[in-house]
Symmetry: none
Subunit: 408 residues, 2 copies
């Protein structure tokens, strides 16, 4: 039996409020250099400690599969209960979401780089000497002004940082993924983007569009120096993802600051709220919206950011800052509160990793693991064990008493 | 999405050195008789302790599935990252490997026992009174001299211990598994070995060969007493197993003493090194070969052997002996070191068991579980949790930074 169907068939509506509080990249590793403590273990967290002692279940979550390090896309899809291997989101889509572009179902999105081409059309610099963002914006405007449509398909071009930009093709009957229009190294011509499934008429149509886009855009860039060409990668359509509200019978809302996380929430149909800029403001807004939604996804970026930078102390401080703001959220303690990360970003590794992230679940039926604090090491022996992140939302639903008994 | 394909698609080449140190049958159970300590817990292991405190991740591994006790074949295939349920190796093949026979892809191997037949061809003793190895060797020579080929198929016969021997059929177009030519009890005739898949022409051809072998061999044994017949079991071909080097992008080598483990390593394409007879010599050889390979499988037999004998103190001593030799290995500490067993062989049970074996993983990004020692009980609360053994090699690869990030 399909497990999703089982969960759906057992789901009942309650008036429970569920909060998923994501400290991005929360998980870390204990190393000798840091006194065998993780930032979470080293941080002073009186409010998290009090919450733990109130009665919490802990565990650790495998974001994708053993040893696999996820990007933010698959990391969050897992937290939202979607198998990240089943629902794959292209890099173009993620990039577009990160630039705040509102994608529609069926849109094809591609990451693009300005590059330098020689007289024979060979790529001499894949990043066009890392041109300034202002140059990128000017060139994107030049392309936008010239190419608004290709046949019936709308073309949306948006500049990113440095040499990066994003192209969206919005029209009927399109599908990805296509192969990259990027030779991957210098000295070669830009390869033609092709369907990955030769039988797909929609992919063929999309590949034709990419070719048409090159035909229209390259001449327009002819006199631009050094960025007289561009490469396109991660060309894929926004996948059809079952809507969160229908899947879980929960009306969801996203309280995130950064565009990518709002975009990921929007992919599954969450309402996104604009405005709050700090975690305190996000919590305040939660209080205001308490009656309007059932499921609140609250995203906190800085744990990941300082992990990426290798800044142990700042990651620790980011956790302490969140802890200090926590009493605002707890003014209206939700029926079920889950606190976790979308993956680990160990400061000693300066990047995402595969290490299972710690998770803490608090409800009137979570039980207590008798742990004094919320830490990686404590979570190792928690009652939730080590499980795949995609089950977290199901455990939250269970704690919200949203599932009927299975069988008599 | 197929997980193996995912891992493959993310694999990058690094200059990491990976060592899998297998203490065969390491896992054990704590019983009152032994002061509620396992041999690993009772052993004095200063070097393993130091390694643990240096920063290690621990956990326990399910060799096959909950409650399933593996033989050495599936136990090791799991450690090598091959799902033991998908890649099944016949007992004939394992037996042949144990006798040091180098099998080729497509070879059919069968375990055989000499037995006693009465005048009507009924089995009166399935083990022919447990004849001496010398008698077995003489009779195998008699058969070998008489039967070198059956049609185009080469026949290789090799004596084992007591009444046991192995028969290999080497030729084109053969396939197993076939049903046993063994009634399983006395008083019955030897049943005909049949294809397990009636549609397989290759199995039919193999079954015909077995029948032809009986036709040629039984008359030759007519005057042998008491071993005038033989039974054949576990008749199967050497399966096609994807090569380790291609699967993991690691050049593998096997440092084992006993033929079966060399054979299992060879099945997946590891280079096997002859010579070392003690664990100290194996470690010394590792130092010598350090630059020639990426992945070192080092096998230590005695923990299993004394477990099988029910000798708690000797199993404990075997662990201490290995610990004493460990500093040799650590002269060149590998990028990733995994220490574990292929299964448990609890001394109180005098045999293999299903209890998850403890595993310890040490790398610069393994993190520390803050455990003082490497033990079964400690491993229960390690950050690796309890996982299927087939994922160990993937975790080793992750610790060697051999995987790109999945998704953006």
């Amino acid at each position: 039996m399909n497990l999703d169907s089982l969960y759906s068939s057992l789901t009942v509506k309650t008036d429970a409020k569920l909060v998923l509080l994501v400290l991005d990249g929360l998980g870390d590793i204990a190393t000798k250099e840091n006194g065998f403590l993780t930032p979470l273990e080293a941080a002073r967290t009186p409010n998290l400690d009090a919450l733990t002692r109130q009665g919490a279940a802990q565990g650790r979550m495998i974001p994708i599969a053993p040893g696999i390090t996820p990007g933010s896309g698959p990391g969050h899809l897992g937290l939202f209960g979607y198998d990240p291997l089943e629902f794959q989101v292209g890099r173009g889509v993620i990039e577009a979401l990160g630039l705040g572009i509102e994608l529609k179902g069926g849109d094809i999105a591609a990451r693009a780089n300005f590059c330098t081409l020689d007289a024979n059309g060979l790529v001499t610099d894949r990043r066009a000497g890392r041109i300034d963002t202002l140059v990128c914006e000017a060139q994107c405007k030049l392309l936008s002004d010239k190419i608004k449509k290709l046949g019936e398909t709308e073309v949306i071009i948006k500049a990113g940082k440095g040499h990066r930009f994003v192209v969206i093709f919005r029209g009927a009957g399109l599908e990805g993924p296509l192969t990259d229009a990027d030779p991957g190294r210098e000295g070669l011509a830009i390869p033609t983007s092709k369907p990955t499934d030769a039988k797909s008429a929609k992919q063929k149509k999309a590949a034709k569009l990419i070719a048409d886009f090159y035909k229209a855009a390259l001449p327009a860039l002819k006199n631009c120096k050094p960025a007289n060409g561009f490469l396109m990668r991660g060309i894929a359509h926004q996948p059809e993802i079952p809507l969160f509200e229908q899947r879980y019978n929960l009306k969801p809302v996203c309280l995130a600051v950064y565009p990518m996380y709002k975009g990921l929430a929007q992919l599954v149909g969450m309402t996104k709220i604009e405005g709050p800029q700090t975690i305190a403001e996000q919590f305040e807004r939660y209080l205001l919206e308490y009656n309007n939604y059932d499921y609140f996804f609250i995203h906190y970026k800085y744990t990941d950011q300082y992990g990426e930078d290798g800044k142990f102390d700042l990651k620790k401080k980011a956790i302490e800052d969140l802890d200090a703001a926590l009493p605002i959220l707890l003014k209206k303690q939700p029926t079920v509160l889950a606190i976790t990360g979308d993956h680990s970003t160990p400061a000693p590794m300066k990047g995402h990793s595969w290490h299972p992230q710690p998770v803490m679940l608090i409800s009137d039926c979570s039980g207590s693991d008798k742990l004094e604090r919320f830490t990686e090491t404590g979570a190792n022996s928690g009652s939730l064990g080590i499980f795949e992140a995609k089950y977290l939302v199901r455990l939250m639903q269970a704690n919200a008493r949203m599932f009927d008994k299975f069988g008599a």
